[in-house]
């Protein structure tokens, strides 16, 4: 039995059409015209307990809308959502006790006072009993190394430390599902790594199911075994990253430096660029192994230097977006 079940959800938004200029604004003020945008168009998936799923797609693909529907903020026009056998719009209070959410661009901490005060308030909001709360809090302090930052007003914290507190705040009530909407946005490399490590730890130790949206493919690579790619409100891919790589990541750039002249035409060479004494080949590794290609080259010319560009998940995603025209 799946822990999270999403079945055929759809959501359409009514957006007023804006016309330019003052006269246009006036016109639309009195006679507003609308167009309908399908933010989500028949999405279904299921997630097992303890999974970390990367939910990716370009801006405006419907990521946030899905997260909002899953967390019970929005009702879908049709279709159903179930988490732990609870339905969000039937019993909101019970349902939201199961979930924690961090929206990278919004804060749930009180800006002017130390994070610990916010945590204490959350304890009362979620009606957590004292011992339970102390235990969870200490766990989080250890895991996240919060000891020194808990008593500083949040507005004085660095973005990385704030995000740590933000995530801790969403875990105070021990939710079984954690939604992270761009948790690493705006963080530096060190903080990003810290946040990723923490998500991993929480997932492993408490078996928290994590759904993560991000534009940072490193997040995805280091955290998620499974990704769901959406575009224009539809699911384009749902599966493991390694499979995705096999399927779409078949081009390699090989740059060689040589003084010799070479002219080879093969159909596995997708692109060939020459500059100075360097040649850049883009080859299709489904048709020839890199090893074979280099052998072929070295039989014809002397190679001074060689560089093989390793695959980059960002390029892969760009390629995917292009392929699906999203």
């Amino acid at each position: 039995m799946s822990f999270i079940m999403v079945k055929h959800i759809r959501k359409t938004f009514k957006v007023p059409i804006k016309t330019e200029g003052i006269i246009g604004s006036l016109k639309s003020f009195f006679n507003r015209k609308y167009r309908y945008i399908k933010a989500i168009d028949d999405i279904s998936f299921s997630i097992k307990k303890g999974e970390i799923v990367g939910y990716i797609g370009p801006n405006g693909a419907g990521k946030s809308t899905t997260i909002k529907i899953l967390s019970g903020i929005l009702n879908p026009d049709s279709g159903s959502v179930k988490i732990n056998n609870l339905i969000p719009n039937v019993d909101r209070k019970k349902y939201v006790k199961n979930i924690g959410a961090v929206f990278g661009q919004k804060s749930q901490l009180w800006w002017d006072i130390p994070a610990i005060d916010s945590f204490n308030l959350l304890k009362d909001i979620y009606k957590i009993d004292d011992n339970e709360y102390k235990k969870t809090l200490n766990e989080l302090i250890d895991l996240l190394n919060l000891k020194d930052i808990l008593n500083i007003p949040v507005r004085l914290l660095s973005l990385g430390n704030r995000m740590k507190c933000e995530i801790a705040a969403s875990l105070i009530h021990k939710p079984q599902v954690l939604f992270l909407d761009e948790p690493t946005i705006g963080l530096d490399a060190v903080s990003k790594k810290m946040v990723r490590d923490f998500i991993k730890k929480i997932n492993r130790q408490n078996n928290v199911t994590v759904i993560l949206t991000t534009h940072d493919m490193k997040d995805i690579e280091s955290l998620c075994k499974r990704i769901i790619l959406i575009g224009k409100g539809k699911i384009l891919y749902d599966g493991s990253i390694s499979k995705l790589k096999k399927k779409y990541d078949y081009l390699r750039k090989i740059t060689i430096e040589t003084k010799d002249k070479i002219d080879i035409k093969r159909n596995y060479i997708v692109k060939e660029k020459k500059f100075d004494n360097k040649i850049e080949f883009t080859i299709d590794i489904r048709q020839i192994e890199i090893n074979e290609f280099i052998k072929l080259l070295s039989s014809k010319i002397s190679i001074i230097d060689i560089d093989i560009e390793s695959s980059n998940i960002d390029d892969l995603i760009i390629k995917l977006y292009e392929e699906f025209e999203i």
């Binding site: 938004f13 009514k14 809308t65 909002k68 967390s71 019970g72 903020i73 929005l74 009702n75 026009d77 719009n89 909101r92 209070k93 019970k94 939201v96 006790k97 979930i99 959410a101 929206f103 919004k106 749930q108 009180w110 800006w111 002017d112 006072i113 005060d117 916010s118 204490n120 308030l121 009362d124 909001i125 979620y126 009606k127 007003p153």
Partner: protein
């Protein structure tokens, strides 16, 4: 109770900026005395308005100010509700396992506005000392009912105008017609106005039951004992306001605006 925990936190936040807090508190305290001076100077020219003396008018004035300042202090979250919707922070309330309306109250609590409440209490005390009423138990009860109903009616209006944000997103000025506009009128005994206004303040926004009809009893202008409990009519006003608020939440979660 959760409200008091919020109250503690809001207080802590405001006290983070000590100097700013003190200055705002003092300025709020003095600025709104201007209102009272207007009335006093008005009465230095006329000894009464349609049979109401200066202290009688100050009493109605103080009662309205009390209710308004009370709601502005303790339910300010509703007053600033449009911010919550516009910046998308309302989502946060939906994510928490607590009553939404209660959370909305708690969103903002303004201690600075407490100075205005304090001021209205001072004015009420001065007025009650000087006013020509012999107080009996039923008159004290009437007065307490008046104060409670003043809070209730502003609470209803606050909830109503907050609900309005669900339908238009931005609060706009409609709120002010309801709160500020009618507040300014209702600060006077509404009997002094033309009949249309009296009807408006009786049936549309029942300010009349807050500080006019019971006032008649208080001042001995009427002997009808029903007037003692007439302020409680404002409770009825609260119910549809809450219903509309919840309708607004439903709309919000289906449109996400």
């Amino acid at each position: 109770m959760l409200y008091f925990k919020y109250f503690k936190i809001h207080t802590k936040c405001e006290l983070e900026y000590k100097m700013s807090f003190i200055m705002s508190f003092i300025s709020q305290f003095f600025v709104f005395f201007g209102y009272y001076f207007t009335i006093i100077s008005l009465f230095s020219k006329f000894s009464n308005i349609k049979g109401f003396t200066v202290y009688e008018v100050l009493l109605t004035f103080g009662i309205i100010q009390f209710g308004f300042a009370f709601c502005e202090t303790f339910f300010r979250g509703l007053d600033k509700f449009d911010d919550l919707i516009v910046y998308g922070n309302f989502d946060r309330l939906l994510l928490r396992p607590r009553n939404i309306l209660m959370q909305a109250f708690c969103e903002q609590i303004s201690l600075i506005k407490l100075s205005r409440l304090l001021q209205s209490i001072i004015v009420l005390i001065i007025t009650l000392i000087n006013i020509d009423i012999t107080f009996s138990i039923d008159k004290i009860i009437t007065l307490i009912f008046m104060l409670i109903s003043s809070v209730l009616i502003f609470l209803s209006i606050f909830i109503l105008t907050a609900s309005y944000c669900f339908f238009t997103v931005k609060g706009l000025e409609v709120r002010n017609i309801l709160t500020d506009g009618s507040k300014h009128m209702a600060q006077y005994p509404i009997g002094i106005f033309k009949k249309g206004f009296v009807t408006f303040f009786t049936f549309i926004i029942p300010f009349g039951f807050v500080n006019y009809y019971p006032l008649l009893y208080l001042l001995g202008k009427s002997d009808n004992k029903l007037l003692i409990i007439s302020p409680l009519i404002t409770v009825i006003y609260l119910i549809p306001s809450i219903a509309i608020f919840y309708k607004g939440i439903k709309k919000y979660s289906s449109t996400g605006s």
